[in-house]
Structure formats: C-alpha cells, structure tokens
Subunit: 204 residues, 2 copies
C-alpha cells in the first residue's frame, strides 16, 4: 500500500534497536482517513482469498483496535478485541492465550468471552504490527480453541527480519493467508520499506 509507505517514510522515527515509532498516525495519534483505507485494503485482500463470508474480525487491545474496526466496517461485520485483563464485569467463560509484548517486555494474557466465537464463525485476525508473531499467534490460538474457521490474518506493518511468519506457522492448525500492507527493515540503521504481501503460511 504505497500511501502507507509514503506515510511511514514521512513520519516514522527510527529509535534504534529495530524500533520504528509511528505514533503520529498509527498507534497513539491516529490518521482516521488513512486508517479507513487500511481497513478497506485489509478486508479486500483477505476476503478475495476466500469464498466464505467473513463474520468476525478479532484483534487485541489497544493498538489493534483501530485497523480491526475499520476492517470490520469495510466488511460490515462484528469485531472483537481481546481484553488484557479481567474486569468485574467479565462474568462468563472465556478463551485465553499468552503473548510477549515486544515494546514492554512483559507477558500479557488475552481474554475473549466464549459467547462471541463459535464454530459457525469465519474469522480474520488483525494486528497493527507483525514482528515476532507472538500476539498474533495468541489470537490464532484463541480462534482455534473456539472451533471457529480461521480465514486469514492481516497486519498493517510487517517486520520480516523478526520472522513472525514462522512463529505463526507453528501455531496454525491449517493453511492460512497472511497479508501485510507494508514491510519495513533496517540496513545499517537506515529504514528500508517495501510493499506488503499476501502469502499462505503452512503449518510447519
């Protein structure tokens, strides 16, 4: 998605240690118009790769909520965001899985109310970043626990050097397309961008 790459080049700030700060448009301040186009692109790429109607979009709080909501709006379906803690109001059973936060360095658990995913659902998983693959693998795990059909995985920015696709491939119980809209890498501490891709990852 060229517009996204242009935005990354114009506003991304490299902090070293392979961390690119995109908080001016993606995950703190948000460019609402660009976010809608991101959702349209993710929905199109993932719905084009299946003949099943997508019923749910699953993400995790907080930064995944933005692209997941616009993806769900594009497909006129419901979205679910996994909670990172249990509140007093979570009185039902839930699915849970653990991930490691790359920028915070701690373990986080995701919780999804079991009422909201069923074997009748065709689900796509959306996250803002695909880096180590830890949080997406946890969301994949939750979809698989529920018995719902995992139709595809979509991410806004992929960092191929961190090999997240291989990690997700190990979590997958069946083939699943993974779409990204932009890839970033760092060579000699310089940002290198390329168009994202859509590829079916296999269970290894």
């Amino acid at each position: 998605m060229q517009k996204l790459i242009d935005k990354i080049k114009a506003e991304g700030r490299y902090l070293g240690n392979s961390i690119l700060k995109v908080d001016s448009f993606l995950n703190h301040q948000v460019d609402s118009e660009l976010m809608m186009e991101i959702g349209q692109q993710l929905f199109k790429r993932l719905s084009d790769s299946t003949d099943k109607p997508i019923t749910k979009v699953l993400t995790a709080e907080a930064s995944g909520i933005l692209p997941a909501l616009t993806t769900a709006m594009s497909g006129n379906c419901r979205m679910i965001y996994a909670r990172k803690s249990i509140s007093k109001t979570m009185v039902d059973d839930f699915y849970t899985a653990k991930a490691v936060s790359r920028t915070r360095g701690n373990d986080v658990a995701f919780y999804v109310n079991s009422r909201f995913l069923s074997p009748d659902d065709n689900v796509i998983v959306i996250e803002d970043f695909l880096a180590t693959g830890s949080s997406i693998s946890a969301l994949v795990d939750i979809v698989q626990q529920s018995g719902a059909n995992l139709i595809g995985i979509g991410t806004v920015i992929e960092k191929p050097a961190e090999n997240g696709r291989a990690v997700i491939g190990k979590a997958l119980q069946q083939d699943c397309p993974i779409a990204s809209l932009a890839c970033i890498d760092f060579e000699n501490d310089e940002l290198v961008t390329s168009l994202g891709n859509l590829q079916v990852e296999r269970n290894i």
Copy 2:
C-alpha cells in the same frame, strides 16, 4: 439516539450494583455499523454547538478508542488515545493525569505525547461511558495542560445517577457542552433508559 437505546434494551445484561454489561456490541464485541452511527451522532451534536473547526478527538485506551475513531472519521480529523502505561518507545515529553477505573477499582494514569496537542487545536473528548466522570475529568485535565481549546465532551452511555457531570464541571476551566447519546438508570434493579442530552456544564 433511539437505535442505541433499542440495542441496550435488546442486548444489555444487568449484573446488579448498577453495572450494565454491553460487551456484545460496545466494549468487547463491537457492532461496527452501529459504532459508525454513534461517531456520526457525536460529531454532529458537538460540531453543531461550536463555530470552530474541530481538529482532534481525544480518548483513552481501550474502550474509548471505538467511538473516538468513528467520531474522528465523521469529522475527518485526527484522534489521539491516551496510553495507560509508558512503553520503551515513548521517548518524548507527555501530559499525564490520573483517573479511577470504576470496573477495575484501581488508579490509572493517562499519558499523551505533548507533540500531539497544542494551543492551535480545537479538541473534543470522547468516552464510551460517563459514570463517575473520573476518566473524562483526567482527559479534560490533559487538554487544559496543553493549552488546546476544549470544544466539547461526548459520551455514548451516561449514568446520571453517578453524578459525573458535577465532577467534570469542577475540572473544567470554562463552559463546555457535554453530549450523551443514551442515559441509563436502575429503579428497583430494573433498567430504565432515556434519550441522551446536550447541555453546557459550567465550572462550579
């Protein structure tokens, strides 16, 4: 907003202790079409009450992100969500304020990068719930710290019995309209709904 009230009546689950669970469409699973209409309504009501162009929509992670994003989309402006913790990538100065979480019972701090709010901004604050007014007051505090103009406050569901407007009124440095789309109350443990309202709250 009658459609919202119908949804609350159809899907809201009363847990006792004045807590209504709306996680099937508002703050865990999300009805993306309804959320867009909520954003359109909030933007319309608050922009109609000012002659200034709204430049930013401010909320707090996580559940506020949904209505704040669709409000920002309706006005084609940027949105900002206050973070509840500082990550390794937050290298700039930030504004901060504290709130008490009603459903979790603990203190939370909100952080907003100081680059994203300036005296040139005309800001509306959006939250999913207006109950005790604690989190909205913290967001108001952050806007006022930045010197930006606070144009209005919008909330999806208001619980008038918890007197949040009086708490926010004390935090306000000037008159500010507060709009809600639906009000809920409990009489003899029965849910009572009414249309939300738009009212200018004064500094007390």
